[in-house]
């Protein structure tokens, strides 16, 4: 048996100049909000896409206020364009129902979406990854050979401990890492432990993002999201990415 989706999925990833998987290992550190903000910020610089690979906890579609309709079909599936970003998520097809699938089914859905989605002239693809090192992370490592990883952590020791394991794997495989962002900081300078973590893996500490208590009220509309201090902070950090 030959799976026809494998060859084209690899080709589609390889054709995109910059792929930025936003990873952590830890859940709840803000990967989806950072991924969405980053894609909107980068859209001013290059043709940008956002792929939500967190099938169990898809949420980028809420941040972008994506349509409830299926994306258009034209010799494949054309991602919906929102705020200058080409967006694809499994949420278009689950109709906001839970998706209780195991890893094997995750891998099938991942390949299916990649095989049929037309990223066309997209130059930069931000990927919102689920937490953990199970099938989604391993599928990504298998199919994406040209990634520039962006690591998200909070100041918490619980987060930094797990992030250190993610960094260990990425370094072991000699994969490119754009840097690390310290999110939800309670102090202006962040936590020295996170800087030390970045230094110990020879990874750039790209910046601290404060904990914005009022951020939640501006989520659900990408236009309102652009006016937040959080977005401005991500935009500033995005200028430090070597694209």
């Amino acid at each position: 048996m030959i799976d026809p989706r494998e060859v084209v999925s690899r080709e589609k990833f390889a054709a995109i100049k910059y792929i930025i998987p936003v990873v952590s290992g830890k859940g709840g550190v803000g990967k989806s909000v950072v991924s969405t903000a980053l894609s909107l910020a980068l859209a001013d610089r290059c043709k940008t896409g956002l792929l939500d690979l967190d099938f169990w906890g898809a949420s980028a579609h809420i941040l972008l206020n994506a349509s409830n309709e299926f994306p258009e079909e034209e010799k494949g599936i054309l991602p919906e364009e929102i705020g200058g970003v080409k967006f694809m998520s499994v949420a278009y097809y689950t109709q906001d129902n839970p998706l209780p699938i195991r890893g094997r089914e995750y891998s099938d859905a991942f390949l299916e979406l990649m095989a049929v989605t037309r990223w066309d002239d997209t130059e930069c693809l931000v990927i919102d990854m689920p937490p953990g090192m199970a099938d989604p992370f391993l599928d990504l490592l298998q199919y994406v050979k040209n990634g520039n990883f962006l690591i998200i952590t909070t100041s918490s020791i619980l987060s930094s401990n797990i992030v250190s394991k993610t960094l260990k794997i990425l370094k072991e495989l000699d994969l490119k890492i754009f840097g690390l962002i310290e999110n939800m900081c309670l102090t202006e300078d962040g936590n020295s432990r996170i800087r030390e973590l970045a230094n110990s893996f020879n990874v750039k500490h790209l910046g601290n993002i404060p904990y914005y208590q009022d951020l939640d009220i501006n989520l659900g509309s990408w236009q309102d999201f652009l006016s937040t201090d959080f977005f401005q902070k991500i935009k500033e950090i995005s200028t430090r990415l070597e694209l």
Partner: protein, 135 residues
């Protein structure tokens, strides 16, 4: 249509496999179409016939085999068919057509109600066999 991209995937994969096996040209490609994904055979065939021109698959016959979908519950081992799952709503069929795994968002084991089931066969499209002429 989204079938076009699947046709493109079948052609590229068949040609790549043929080259790996040192085949000079492809003569036949057997393609399985799983019932769950509800792929339109005619559109895939049209796509393949258009895309194969100028490739080593130009003279190949594409043979389609339809495979019925069956499910097996991982909780109670019950087995059932797509027909028994009784999916009638058009938008649900369309969702499954694009990403078959979302079937888990819409159906449960008819015996125990578990969402933890596998698609034993008839999920989607795959290449069963290729034949061709050696170099």
């Amino acid at each position: 249509m989204h079938e076009w991209s699947l046709a493109e995937a079948v052609l590229k994969s068949s040609v790549k496999e043929a080259k790996k096996r040192n085949l000079r040209k492809l003569l036949e490609v057997k393609i399985v179409l799983g019932e769950l994904q509800g792929i339109e055979e005619e559109i895939v065939k049209f796509g393949l016939d258009s895309l194969k021109k100028g490739t080593i698959a130009e003279e190949a016959d594409f043979i389609f085999i339809n495979e019925k979908a069956t499910f097996k519950c991982r909780n109670c081992q019950n087995r059932w068919t797509l027909k028994e799952a009784n999916i009638n709503e058009h938008t649900i069929k369309e969702s499954i057509h694009f990403v078959p795994e979302v079937v888990h968002s819409f159906i449960r084991c008819p015996r125990c109600g578990s969402p933890d089931f596998e698609v034993v066969r008839g999920r989607g499209i795959y290449i069963k066999e290729i034949t061709g002429e050696d170099l």
